[in-house]
């Protein structure tokens, strides 16, 4: 190999091979023209808009339907019913309706666009450390190690913490992995297609305010459209009233079918908030007394008022994923050697932030050292900024 190479190299120019970059011909002094933000190499399936300011699920079709329904129904109400009602009854009706409408829109957009409480995936160092601890705890690893769980006692209740194979962390209590968004979310409630996002710790209060205000708005529009039709039919008869304002018919139909589900949902979530449970826990019956005599919810504060206040007025934690931060791309990166020797969990990343770029590389490279169970999950796709690691000496 060497003889053949040296002959052809006589024609080539003198060039420096640096171990700092993964492509051998790249000079270390080459400046990056554009810095990437962290959302651009986010490993989950979430979509980002407005340069990382907005975060939503992948499928947003149903969210658009929600938006259209609300805008169209409210628009028709303000255009066709409000003038009549303002004249006949009081101008407070369009004012209150307007305030409600703006509140509904604000809380909907807040719910849909904010980070629900996504837990960032573990850095390779952390993942390696956890794997080592699990291997030590399990003893000798057979071909299939047992499922990874940790038990912890919270307020006298034993809670099982599961290991997430995708995110490589032990999920905190009440966290769950959303398969649609491919993220672990703290205090995971449910994935709502109507808002186009998961509902979790950081946006649950916005979601609750949204459905509550939407129930009021739906009932408000329904009631006043009916009033409008009744008042008109006193004057002109029922059929003429319907002919004069056909939009009202559409509004009544939409509101009639929505009110049951939305009011029902608000009632359900009011119950969940007052007992400090998530939809996930309620569906699974985690704290139901049917499971056992001593089964109770360890997170409840004891009384309804405190539970409600902590869910709605508690402190709002910041986002953990720092979507608009810049990836530190000019730190020392050790290029893995080509003869197949890989270093277990070793990357020279300064901060975990840049691991999102290189982490995907090192995850696949250290796969030889991973427990067989972790092969079940597909490795995250390599980000576009990661360069091929083929080197030739």
């Amino acid at each position: 190999m060497h003889l053949g190479v040296s002959e052809s190299m006589r024609e080539c120019e003198y060039s420096q091979i640096s171990t700092r970059s993964s492509t051998p011909m790249e000079t270390p002094y080459k400046k990056r023209t554009s810095r990437k933000r962290k959302w651009e190499s986010f490993p989950g399936r979430s979509k980002f808009y407005c340069d990382g300011r907005i975060m939503m699920a992948r499928q947003t079709g149903v969210f658009c339907l929600t938006l259209v329904l609300i805008l169209v129904t409210s628009g028709l109400f303000f255009t066709f019913d409000c003038p009549f009602l303002a004249l006949q009854l009081t101008t407070a009706i369009p004012v209150i309706g307007g305030v409600l409408f703006l509140f509904v829109l604000g809380t909907l957009l807040r719910t849909s666009f904010s980070d629900p409480g996504v837990l960032p995936r573990a850095t390779p160092d952390e993942a390696a450390d956890l794997e080592r601890q699990i291997d030590v705890a399990n003893g000798s690893t057979g071909y299939r190690p047992p499922p990874r769980t940790k038990e912890v006692v919270i307020n006298g209740q034993t809670v099982k913490l599961k290991y997430c194979f995708t995110c490589k962390i032990f999920r905190p209590p009440r966290a769950s992995h959303c398969s649609l968004c491919d993220n672990c979310v703290e205090r995971f409630d449910h994935h709502c297609p109507w808002v186009g996002n998961c509902v979790g710790r950081r946006n649950y209060r916005f979601f609750y305010m949204f459905i509550l205000s939407l129930s009021f708005l739906t009932i408000f529009i329904f009631a006043f459209v009916i009033t409008h039709i009744i008042l008109r039919s006193h004057r002109n008869g029922f059929l003429n009233a319907l002919k004069d304002s056909p939009a009202s018919v559409l509004e009544v139909v939409v509101c009639f079918f929505s009110v049951w589900s939305i009011v029902g949902l608000s009632g359900f979530h009011t119950y969940l908030i007052s007992s400090n449970q998530t939809t996930n826990e309620d569906i699974k019956g985690s704290w139901s007394s049917k499971r056992g005599k001593d089964n109770y919810n360890p997170y409840s504060h004891g009384n309804i008022f405190t539970n409600c206040c902590s869910a709605l007025c508690g402190p709002l934690p910041p986002s953990l994923i720092d979507r608009r931060g810049f990836i530190q791309s000019d730190t020392l990166q050790l290029a893995p050697p080509t003869n197949g020797i890989t270093m277990y969990g070793a990357t020279q990343s300064q901060q975990s932030h840049m691991v999102s770029e290189t982490g995907s590389e090192s995850v696949t490279k250290t796969s030889a050292f991973r427990a067989p169970n972790s092969f079940c999950r597909l490795p995250p796709p390599l980000s576009s900024s990661s360069r091929p690691v083929n080197q030739s000496f």
Binding site: M9, R10, L161, P298, P337
Partner: protein
Amino acid sequence: MATEFHNLQELRHSASLETKVFIQRDYTEGTVCRFQTKFPSELDNRIERTLLEETVKTLNSYYVEAEKIGGQSYLEGCLACATAYIIFLCMETRYEKVLRKISGYIQEQNEKIYAPRGLLLTDPIERGMRVVSFTVLSVQLEISIFEDQGSGTSSPSSSSMSSTGSAR
């Protein structure tokens, strides 16, 4: 060429001497942010137990303060709800204020206690509040190898090495 290639492998291996020690979350009090005060055995001869426990306890108390449900948080929550949460665009929440205090505290601890002992404490917020990580600092080797391609002589490639003590 083969010998130099072999040396490069060895140098690469020895260049990654830094180790990281992690302190995991303690969930015995629920979902509140709290870190285990158990002393990790890897740091036995690096730092005194009391100093590390003191740091972790102070961090825990900061997080308790950030997540406290009381008068001020209720006021903040009600005000935010009344303004349809628009106020969050202009105002910094109490949690964010406490996080700034925490990062100042960690910087101070690093300067006074951990850097002199060859350790670096990383702010948990940079690790998604999963762990408090300690990086054991070590000497890093930077290797630049200049391959002689066009001279036509049979001299082997020269290599230059520089060693830097770096905080990573």
